[in-house]
């Protein structure tokens, strides 16, 4: 039981730690990057002309403003960790960020001479320097968007405190001039940070050319934060499921302990112990168990946390933004939250048994068989309550409330409902099983189910608990399997090219760095190439935050997408795209509520806000942020940009893609580092990312399975030990050790099978909810439910194996123990 609580708490804590860490990492790194800015000026997609900043300065329009360039660098010496390059102007930056000026705001010019005057000079934090053994004066190879160069460490940032240390850990600071040169963005800025009073905003905005926007700093982070929020909530809710499993096991064990001690309570009541005192006695026990279990769970959670933190930040990296903050420390709040949750959960689970114990009348008026008879009438009532609970769950699901917690509440009701129904189901099925059992196992086949029915007060609780545990496992497994299945199908549809070329990215997101313009003409004249598709992806502003806009030159793009909805004929698609229509991906459509015909989306372009009609919504699992797909011609006309970020080659039938990949890798196309992949390897790369995305869910499924497994083991073990005396009598009456062994195994096996059996529909419903409600609300993805028999067999397998394992010890124990010992004392 301790283990049940401990593991439940551990899972909650581990997930909460990961979430807290992810959110903190985001907070810290965004704070480090955006500092105290109240507003930001940025341009659509292609960066800001630096002259805007200079003009604003020379005209005295802005007072507290500073230019910024950010880019993610890959630095081989620093391993896989993406490094955030932050290009700043030290002279104006101190009003925004506290790490380049000294404490009193004075600029330590003497320390910055090289940094300002010498090309390729950077600052890194002492933490990073120490970790990789880098000293001032050392050289580092860096690549930004495929552009490779060498930088010199001109100084170290000595963080003032722990949080700063973490924030700066993944950061490289460069003078704005150096940053322009490293990223190849000569003449460009990413944004201008400003501190504006409310009445300055409009006067600044009036000065901005079209295609340049002024927004509050919060607005920018808010959109990202909002999306990761859904993801994190999804995780914590899943971790709650693990706790619910643990809770059921606690309930099971406590109920058991109470039922077993009924005679004792009867005697105590005779001796003058009040109901209140018995209630307090049970609750105190629960409290002690809860505290110890939660303590163990907290320790376990911290251990698990180091893994979950890594997995969650990886996922966030893949799906949302590159995080450069690696560690944020253990959030004490998470530990407290988890620990208290564990204790409260234990108390809650113990409350019903405690109330029941307190209700014990003086002496045992109600005998064991009386209890069983009561239990059997209760089973019917429980069944009805279960049906009602399921109904409530279903109603909750169809409530038009867009809240993940409602979804999880529904899940909870459904699972509990099934658990309640399981007692009734078991009573009916077991009775029906008697003749079957007789046929299969003879005498024991009859005795076992009867004995289970006869002790329904104990067995049904155990089976219900097991069912909950297994159904959660089934639900998660089904979701993950379905997701993988869906992505596989999607990839097969979407990846129609044979060879793909792009600039390597640091995370799993769409490549955004343009491919050297010299590359495309070479590829177009390559023998064996039937078609060259290009894609230009840029980040654009929408009313729902920044998303990726991709422009394709492929007239057949419509055939290469799977549509959720399409508001024009397949044959008109390309024409409509060229006429300014856009396709948007499902997550974006859901997030912006654009499902349905006649919608349009606003995009901030160099010409200002422009409205594009949505002509279709397609499935896309590459990002949960969303993508806008447009035609190259439209993009080039509006953005005045003919660069491309990814190229797909379709080869003649008889050409081997791998051969082309190899030959392209051998030919020196450009100085730029390019990623040239065959369809096959791109697909497996993409799948890798998906595996990573669901690594945490998989891990949680495994934990839930372990909790379930241990729970089955634990409760069946208790149940069998409770039967110990009866087995002793049977031994005395002449039942052989082997028969006892088989009887025990049959009993636990039956319970395992029933738990597994009831878990299947419950698990299926959980999976449905996870897939169609929870996932869709947190990621915006539609996943095709893929029900494989393997999952169900697995569930049955888990419960059966656990049940049989649970039977082994009592079976061995009881069959080995001489009957004399079992019945020796009364």
């Amino acid at each position: 039981m301790l283990f049940g609580i401990a593991l439940g708490v551990a899972v909650v804590i581990a997930i909460d730690l990961a979430n807290a860490s992810a959110s903190r990492a985001f907070e810290i790194s965004s704070e480090a990057v955006s500092g105290k800015a109240t507003h930001q000026i940025s341009a659509s997609a292609l960066g800001l002309d630096e002259s805007l900043y200079i003009d604003l300065r020379r005209q005295g329009i802005v007072d507290t403003a500073t230019p910024v360039i950010t880019e993610f660098l890959s630095i081989p010496q620093f391993g896989d960790q993406p490094i955030q390059l932050l290009g700043v102007d030290p002279f104006t930056d101190s009003a925004f960020r506290d790490f380049i000026g000294s404490a009193n705001g004075e600029l330590p010019l003497g320390q910055l001479v090289s940094f300002i005057t010498q090309p390729g000079t950077v600052l890194i934090s002492t933490g990073l320097a120490e970790r990789y053994g880098v000293a001032i004066g050392d050289r580092l190879d860096v690549a930004a968007g495929g552009l490779e160069s060498t930088v010199v460490v001109a100084g170290l940032l000595i963080p003032a405190d722990d949080i700063s240390a973490r924030a700066l850990d993944g950061m490289m600071l460069a003078d704005i001039s150096t940053a322009q040169e490293l990223t190849g963005r000569i003449g460009k800025l990413d944004r201008i940070d400003l501190i504006l009073t409310p009445n300055q905003v409009e006067s600044v905005r009036a000065q901005l050319p079209p295609g340049v926007s002024l927004e509050t700093a919060n607005a920018r982070q808010g959109a990202v934060e909002e999306m990761t929020q859904a993801f994190r909530m999804n995780l914590s809710a899943l971790s709650m499921l693990a706790l619910i499993v643990g809770l059921f096991l606690i309930y099971n064990t406590m109920t058991f302990a109470v039922v077993q001690r009924r005679p004792l309570f009867g005697i105590l009541r005779c001796l003058g112990v009040t109901r209140r005192e018995i209630f307090m006695m049970i609750m105190s026990e629960a409290l002690i168990i809860g505290v110890i279990g939660s303590l163990i769970g907290t320790g376990l959670g911290v251990l698990l946390g180091s893994q979950t933190v890594r997995m969650v930040s990886q996922t966030i990296n893949d799906l949302y933004f590159a995080t450069t903050v690696q560690t944020t420390g253990v959030a004490v709040s998470s530990l407290v939250k988890g620990g208290v949750l564990g204790i409260l959960a234990t108390l809650m689970a113990a409350a019903l048994p405690a109330i029941e114990a307190a209700a014990t009348p003086p002496w045992q008026v109600l005998s064991r068989s009386g209890l069983e008879r009561k239990a059997r009438t209760l089973v019917d009532r429980l069944g009805i309550m279960g049906a009602v609970a399921i109904l409530i769950g279903v109603v909750l699901l169809f409530l038009p409330v867009d809240n993940l917690w409602v979804g999880f509440g529904a899940t909870f009701f459904v699972v509990v409902g099934f658990a309640m129904l399981s007692a009734l189901g078991m009573a009916i099925l077991l009775t029906a099983f008697v003749p079957v059992g007789q046929k299969l196992f003879g005498l024991l086949g009859r005795i076992a189910p009867r004995s289970l029915v006869n002790s329904l007060s104990r067995t049904s609780v155990a089976v219900a608990a097991l069912m909950v545990a297994v159904s959660v496992t089934i639900g998660m497994t089904l979701m993950i399997d379905s997701f993988r299945y869906t992505v596989n199908i999607w990839l097969r549809e979407v990846l129609t090219g044979d060879v793909y070329i792009s600039v390597p990215t640091l995370n799993g997101t769409t490549p955004l760095a343009p491919i050297d313009s010299s590359v495309l003409p070479v590829l177009e004249t390559l023998p064996g190439v039937r078609q060259v598709d290009t894609l230009r992806s840029v980040r654009v502003d929408t009313r729902a935050g920044i998303v990726t806009l991709s422009a394709s030159n492929n007239p057949g793009i419509g055939q290469e997408r799977m549509f959720l909805e399409r508001y024009t004929g397949q044959e008109n698609l390309w024409a409509e795209l060229q006429a300014g229509g856009v396709l948007i991906s499902e997550p974006l459509a859901r997030r912006m509520d654009l499902v349905g015909p006649g919608n349009s989306i606003e995009v901030f372009t160099p010409k200002g806000w422009m409205t594009f009609p949505v002509i279709g919504i397609y499935y896309d699992y590459a990002t949960s942020e969303g993508i806008i797909l447009t035609a190259s011609s439209v993009y080039q006309r509006i953005w005045q940009d003919d660069q491309v970020t990814s190229i797909g080659l379709i080869l003649e039938e008889d050409i081997d893609p791998d051969l082309v990949v190899r030959s392209l890798q051998d030919v020196h196309l450009t100085d730029q580092r390019l990623l040239i992949r065959s369809n096959q390897s791109l697909r497996s790369d993409v799948l890798d990312i998906f595996e990573r995305t669901f690594a945490i869910t998989s891990a949680m499924r495994i934990l839930a399975t372990i909790v379930a497994f241990i729970g089955i083991l634990n409760s069946l073990l208790l149940l069998q030990l409770d039967h110990q005396r009866e087995y002793g009598i049977l031994r005395a009456l002449g039942m052989t050790g082997k028969q006892i062994w088989r009887l025990v195994m049959l009993e636990t096996g039956l319970m395992g099978i029933f738990a597994g059996l009831f878990a299947i529909p419950a698990g299926y419903v959980v999976a449905l909810i996870l897939i169609y409600v929870i996932n869709q609300r947190s990621f915006g993805w539609t996943i095709q439910m893929n029900l494989t028999p393997a999952v169900l067999i697995q569930a049955m397998g888990i419960s059966l194996v656990a049940a049989l394992l649970a039977g082994i010890y009592p079976a061995i124990h009881l069959s080995r123990t001489p009957a004399a010992e079992v019945i020796r004392y009364e």
Partner: protein
Amino acid sequence: MSKTITRWVIVMAVTLTIVLWVTHLQGGQGERPVQARISGSGMLSADGFERAEPGRVFQFPRDHGAHPEYQTEWWYYTGNLQTSEGRRFGYQLTFFRRALIPPNQVRQRESDWAASQVYLAHFTLSDISANEFNFTERISRGAAGLAGSVGEPAYSVWLQDWSVRQLSDDRYELSARDAAGAITLGMVDEKGPLLQGIQGYSQKGPQSGNASYYYSQTRLHSSGTVEVNGEAYEVDGVSWMDHEFSTSALAEDQVGWDWFSLQLDNDTELMLYTIRDQNGQVDPYSQGSLVLAGGEVVPLSSAEYTIEILDTWHSPGSGARYPAQWRITVPSRAIRLDIRPLMAAQELNVTFTYWEGAVSVTGEVGDVPVAGYGYVELTGYAHSMQGEF
């Protein structure tokens, strides 16, 4: 019994609430800014820069512009202005240039932002009748057009939107604005650039090279507008400009200076400075000059004048004690002048702390009474100026 259960439920609910609240509070703790210090490489060094030597031939407007081969340079504009109603204003607009590396070490760079020069500027407005003094400091790289100074084809010096531009041979335009006020002046140079020291070579210490090049425009007739607290005033008055550049002006034991630029109503101007050492002793390299009505510059050695401090002022801001009233005598010219600050609080508490303020002058030249206005700069009272601009 039900009471017990109720009590349990309440206890649990309260605990849960407290925990959630506490964790929520904890969640909000991330407001502390990310802070760090820098340990960098490279030093500000005078190596590789040229030093001021006697015999320089000045050429204008070219020499109005920056001289990056010297490490430091400044353009000082100060002036006393008044409205037709007699409301007085003083202003200071100073540009400092500091080279981080000498020109021969500057590498060819792609980015416009690549900088080897740092510009710093101070802008003050003294609203005498309101007894209000405002100052603002700005710093910028001398690159990307954000700050700089050129001499040809026409002179200008600017830092963002603060600038002085040459409009024609003897006409200039000065403008600056900060949160508290603004100034726009058209200036006519009535006497032309006047070389200080020995033909513009101004020895500041015993060592060769402890010197600067120094010239002034001592009578810039100025008119335009001053804006204070959102109200614009038409003003008229006289400005003074000093332009000085050097690599290492102050000797090691020199901590600061008192500098006087006085414009008298007899069309003469007096410039004096005393360099003080650590013990408050007046350095013999202190000097001055008297500009006669016709533009003739009469150099004055430190032996030729005395500056007597009659009063002091204790700055509540920096805690420094500044001289606040002086009697200047130049016996050889029968000049005796009493100088009083137009207001006491004209201290700038910026990168380095100093007092620079508008003063009034009364006194006699021989038997003839004179009056006038000017500016006094007092440095090294709050901390040593060694190593600063």
